[in-house]
């Protein structure tokens, strides 16, 4: 099977394909409807707005002190015996992880879920160096077997239905073809268990890194995160620099928001707090723990007081679950590590606007994403800001700013501006628009493929109001 390559440049083609694929559309619709219901039901008995306000403030406070908190995190982690590494971009982070593996002569790596590692294509990098990297999150494992990328940041295999999963497991691992979910889960579990025992290194992500205590928090449901971080002799945690929070007490509200927003759970099955490698006299835990802090474009967003809000994200995926565009086209269509609304405001900083120029406009600005975001990121405003950047009207500090500016569109907006600032001409234009109907094109490209052509009324509101006034006066 050939690896499917999705790129943000091909958004339109990928959207076309996804929209024409009943399987994809059905799978996403069903999954997103379910997730929306779960979220709605679980927040029922909560004062959601107060909690969101708190969550947003915790994140804002952490970001306001980010450089200091990172230093504090480093000092406290080191004091706990965690080895610290800093990476400017994905390549550097990959090299750091590979070198840690090579120093231990590692041949195999078992991985917990980590979107940052997707962002930097860690698996491919390790494979090239002759180190096998196996995903242990069930969804990630299926996606990896299927030679795909995750289509959702929380539920990587949400685009697959039971039959497809059965086929993948059968084709790649020789399990029986079945619709029995328990059987399939047990089979995958068995396959993974063996690998946990033999892996030389465990790699995981981080949900919150606590500066005050040097603690790494890991939220998960399958226990694979706990295995990854405790069974192999070396544990490497990798995370974006924005994941830091100031105090341990900041974690509880964020965790409550994260699990409820993501999967509609009060708590997850596992919540790991990692403080140090195995201590003298302890019977389990890795001999070495490393933390790799990855920048990869984040500090450049950090410079901009508006775009900075992007870094509040706690990666719950609720914005995707509620996005009507994501629901229709699915995650792969975006062609980026992070899809959906958060992807559209984050990926331009990682890949530049040239590659991602279709993403900020791939939203009707309906506001559903901003409404559900647990840390109140004003996603629609940031989409508009990036649209400005794309046409060269922003502050110019996003990579590839201005790439979308073209003469034809500028001319169109300029003439619109002229009309709308010359009321006489506007009234004249709207007054005759209805009368000129015959001269309007019968088709307006894509609009009329699905809808009838809007017809200008015979009499504009300006004209109607004039008549109305005269009638009242007489």
């Amino acid at each position: 099977m050939s690896v499917e390559i999705y790129t943000p440049q091909a958004f339109h083609r990928q959207a076309h394909d996804a929209l024409g694929n009943p399987q994809i559309r059905g799978n996403f619709r069903k999954a997103m409807d379910g997730l929306m219901t779960k979220r709605r039901d679980i927040f029922n008995d909560w004062d959601l707005e107060t909690l969101r306000e708190l969550g947003a403030n915790i994140r804002l406070r952490a970001l306001a002190k980010l450089p200091d908190l990172l230093e504090q995190l480093e000092a406290n982690c080191q004091a706990n015996g965690i080895q610290m590494h800093w990476a400017e971009d994905g390549d550097q982070a990959c090299r750091i992880i590979r070198e840690i593996c090579q120093a231990r002569g590692a041949k195999s790596v078992i991985k917990g879920k980590s979107m940052v590692s997707e962002e930097m294509h860690l698996n491919a990098h390790l494979e090239e160096a002759g180190i096998e990297a196996l995903e242990s999150d069930l969804g990630e494992y299926l996606v990896q077997l299927n030679e795909q990328t995750p289509s959702h940041i929380i539920m990587p295999a949400i685009h697959l239905n039971t039959d497809e999963i059965s086929d993948i497991l059968h084709d790649k691992t020789g399990t029986e073809r079945t619709r029995d979910v328990d059987y399939m889960t047990a089979a995958a579990r068995q396959q993974l268990r063996e690998r946990f025992m033999s892996a030389d290194v465990g790699v995981s992500g981080v949900n919150f890194a606590v500066a005050e205590t040097g603690t790494l928090c890991l939220v998960e449901n399958e226990g694979n995160g706990r295995m990854t971080t405790t069974v192999p002799p070396v544990h490497i945690a990798v995370t974006g620099i924005e994941k830091v929070v100031e105090h341990l007490r900041d974690v509880a509200p964020l965790y409550a928001l994260l699990t409820r927003s993501a999967t509609g759970q009060h708590v997850t099955t596992y919540f790991n707090l990692i403080n140090s490698p195995r201590k003298r006299g302890e019977r389990d835990g890795p001999e070495e723990v490393h933390l790799v802090l990855v920048d990869n474009g984040r500090s450049s967003i950090y410079q901009d007081d508006e775009l900075l809000d992007t870094l509040r994200c706690i990666r719950c995926g609720a914005c995707m679950n509620h996005c009507p565009v994501y629901t229709r086209v699915g995650g792969h269509t975006y062609g980026t590590t992070y899809p959906g609304p958060i992807g559209s405001i984050l990926m331009p900083h990682m890949l530049g606007l040239e590659a991602t120029q279709d993403l900020p406009s791939a939203s009707s600005l309906c506001g559903a994403c901003g409404e559900v975001c647990p840390v109140k990121i004003p996603i629609p405003d940031l989409l508009v800001r990036l649209r400005k950047e794309a046409v060269g009207e922003g502050r110019g500090n996003v990579l590839g700013a201005g790439v979308k500016r073209n003469k034809k569109e500028v001319a169109a907006w300029k003439s619109w501006q002229w009309m709308a600032t010359h009321p006489g001409a506007w009234r004249g234009g709207t007054a005759i628009a209805g009368k000129l109907q015959v001269m309007m094109p019968a088709k307006l490209g894509p609009w009329t493929d699905y809808r009838t052509m809007p017809k200008p009324a015979k009499t504009s509101l300006h004209a109607l109001m004039k008549r109305h006034r005269q009638e009242k006066e007489s």
Binding site: V325, R328, S364, C366, V391, S460, M465
Partner: protein, 251 residues
């Protein structure tokens, strides 16, 4: 926390801001909005020089063009009367985006002042006019689509249904995923036509599934999109701006 909005007592005069879509495509909806206000004893002033709030350019990223157009509109409301807009989308632009658009410019204060006087029509009818309606129409079922801007940007999910509830012979039917976007989104429908089409298709199906032959909406963009989709499919479901519907049934 969402701030509680304080509403003024019913004024003697208001400005009416028609919006460009109403002006060109649905002028009757605008006039019906005016009539509803006048019936409440309010004098309605329609500034002749109004054109467009600037939103299409603004959401496309063309901020300078949007600002130039918006600036010309700011001058149209010199008296301190409320400004009533029959559209959540233009209302949202003027109330929530004008202050940001003019931040740091000479017009900032004026933009904030104007923004503070913007009311969406159904909001104004419910919260300021405390409108009472006498339904003269035949009994029927109707579906309502509240625009995303009215719902989320202006926080007005309830005012349209509240007005319909005052019509004695009208039953508001529930549709699946009522809060989901119809796929219009201004230039979104042009830039991503296929995705937009998939969205409006689901919306028309949801409305149709209620069994009603009529839907009303608070925004002409949605009306154009959903109504245009029904028409394209030659389905017998009719759409109407809520102002026209209210006026028609009560006059």
């Amino acid at each position: 926390m969402t701030p509680v909005k304080l509403y003024p007592p019913k004024p003697e005069k208001v400005y009416f801001y028609g919006t460009c879509l109403v002006d060109i495509f649905f002028p009757e909806a605008g006039l019906d909005g005016v009539r509803l206000l006048e019936r409440e004893g309010i004098e309605v002033v329609f500034p002749e020089d109004q054109t467009c709030c600037g939103q299409p350019a603004y959401t496309s990223g063309y901020e300078s063009e949007a600002r130039a157009v918006a600036e010309s509109q700011l001058a149209l409301f010199p008296e301190p009367w409320p400004i009533v807009v029959p559209s959540g989308s233009c209302g949202g632009m003027m109330r929530t985006h004008y202050p940001a658009l003019f931040a740091g410019t000479n017009s900032e204060v004026r933009a904030m002042e104007v923004a503070g006087r913007i009311f969406e029509l159904t909001e104004f009818l419910v919260h300021v006019c405390h409108l009472q309606l006498e339904d003269r129409g035949a009994p029927e079922k109707v579906a309502m689509h509240t625009s995303c801007s009215a719902r989320r940007e202006m926080g007005l999910a309830e005012t349209g249904p509240a007005l319909l509830a005052k019509l004695g012979h009208v039953e508001l039917v529930e549709q699946a995923r009522a809060a989901e976007c119809c796929g219009f989104g201004g230039t979104f429908a042009v830039r991503h036509p296929e995705v937009s089409a998939a969205m409006v298709e689901d919306k028309t199906q949801a409305i149709e599934a209620t069994g009603t032959k009529r839907f009303v909406t608070s925004d002409c963009g949605c009306l154009m999109n959903i109504g245009g989709r029904f028409e394209h499919q030659e389905k017998p479901v009719q759409g109407e701006h809520i102002a026209s519907y209210l006026w028609r049934r009560t006059s």
